[in-house]
Symmetry: C7
Subunit: 95 residues, 7 copies
Amino acid sequence: MGRIRRLVLDTLKPHEPSIIAMAEELSVLEGISAVNISIYEIDRKVENAKITIEGESISYPLVLEVIEEMGGAVHSIDEVVAGKKIIDDAVTLQD
Amino acid sequence: MGRIRRLVLDTLKPHEPSIIAMAEELSVLEGISAVNISIYEIDRKVENAKITIEGESISYPLVLEVIEEMGGAVHSIDEVVAGKKIIDDAVTLQD
Amino acid sequence: MGRIRRLVLDTLKPHEPSIIAMAEELSVLEGISAVNISIYEIDRKVENAKITIEGESISYPLVLEVIEEMGGAVHSIDEVVAGKKIIDDAVTLQD
Amino acid sequence: MGRIRRLVLDTLKPHEPSIIAMAEELSVLEGISAVNISIYEIDRKVENAKITIEGESISYPLVLEVIEEMGGAVHSIDEVVAGKKIIDDAVTLQD
Amino acid sequence: MGRIRRLVLDTLKPHEPSIIAMAEELSVLEGISAVNISIYEIDRKVENAKITIEGESISYPLVLEVIEEMGGAVHSIDEVVAGKKIIDDAVTLQD
Amino acid sequence: MGRIRRLVLDTLKPHEPSIIAMAEELSVLEGISAVNISIYEIDRKVENAKITIEGESISYPLVLEVIEEMGGAVHSIDEVVAGKKIIDDAVTLQD
Amino acid sequence: MGRIRRLVLDTLKPHEPSIIAMAEELSVLEGISAVNISIYEIDRKVENAKITIEGESISYPLVLEVIEEMGGAVHSIDEVVAGKKIIDDAVTLQD
């Protein structure tokens, strides 16, 4: 099976536990080397967080388990990179 | 025959199997080193995915087979790079 | 526990002590290698400062303690990076 | 005679043969190291393709022959680079 | 105490002494490696200058002394970087 | 005398000889290492070409001779770089 | 005295001598390594030229002498860099 090298997730989560706690939890999962969590909208009870994960071999089920255990939900998977290295989507004349 | 080094495809696919599964499948094809799948529109039943593939020698028939076996369809081939290395299209005064 | 490598905080603080004093104090905390404090709005009595902190292992409680001892308050935590290296959030077709 | 190192061509071509076949054919011509073909407009019967070619010594007559044999036509030559290395046009205060 | 590595100052100064003289004076202060002075507005009697200073360990009191001795005034301190290296403020989804 | 390292010329030329021929001719002049010719406007009989030339020591009289022998005319010299290396114009707060 | 490493000058000059001649003259002054002259406006009798000079130790009086001997005038000094290295002005949240 191919190795997942980057995942970008659009998530909704309660304010607590904080994105600091969530980044710490995700970053120690096997096969993950770095986690970036950025807030793009804050409401009274919840916040929308964009989660970017990079690593040698990311397990989405384990990632999802951590997010849901902390009360979060994944709205959509916006980008996936698999293979021997990480590439961005190529900018084309259609974009 | 020249070697295909990058392909950028505009595709339509059902939500399942996910882009994670599709990226995993594509990334293990012979001659492919990395696959980026980015969602740019989501409808109730389908999603539009931009697929960027890079490698030493990409076989489009094999790529198409995987996409179609997973229920997807290729709308258009937006960019192709062939040769000894990968180059972007040059930005000109006409763009 | 995972290591926090970057924190971006939106803060409110009185003009005194200055952001020079605050940057000096934060930069000597254990596990911190660099601190950037940028002012984005100035009022008569207070100023809004965006604080970016990078390091090998940042302790948010210690950071918060320094900010509050100097009369400041953290409005929101805008970005957190954890893991073996620092990554930015990936730019996607959804952004 | 000076060596042509980059050519950027604005072309019109039928959908078949595909840009994959055309990139493969062009990339194996003597003196060519990489070919990028990007589609910028698609009609019912034809497509507009921007072709960027780089190499050690590109022969325009051979390139033109391949494009025309595949049913394509060159609308205009938008950029040419010749010499010991490839340079972009310098961005000036007049642009 | 932490070391100040970059200071960005918004200043007002008379036309004379020139920003050449001021840059020369500031650049020889202990702990300073480079000074950039950029004019962003010119009036009949005064000019607004943005001063960017980088170094191993910048003393703000000494910097202020030089600016004031030359007839200038610091309107605001817009950015401070302290620590073992210089980092820019991280671009976030809130910017 | 100082060495000219980059010239950017705004020129008008007939369609024939082509910019391919002109780039080839210019690129073999003594002291020139690379020539970029980009078309920015095409009329029925003539085309406007931006010519960027880089090298160790460019002779403008020789460049002008080639352009005029091929039926072209130099409208303006938009940028000149001289010295031991090539630098772009610095972007300032006045731009 | 501190060393001037970069100067950006806004100048007005007659069409002759050309910016080629002026760049050649300036580039051979002691302490100067590169000169970029870019035209940003052309009138019937004069032209506005932005002059960027970089070097190990630039003498403004010598630079001014060359510009004035060639019939030019310095409107304003837009940017000065002094010190052990060249830095750009830092982009801040105030810009």
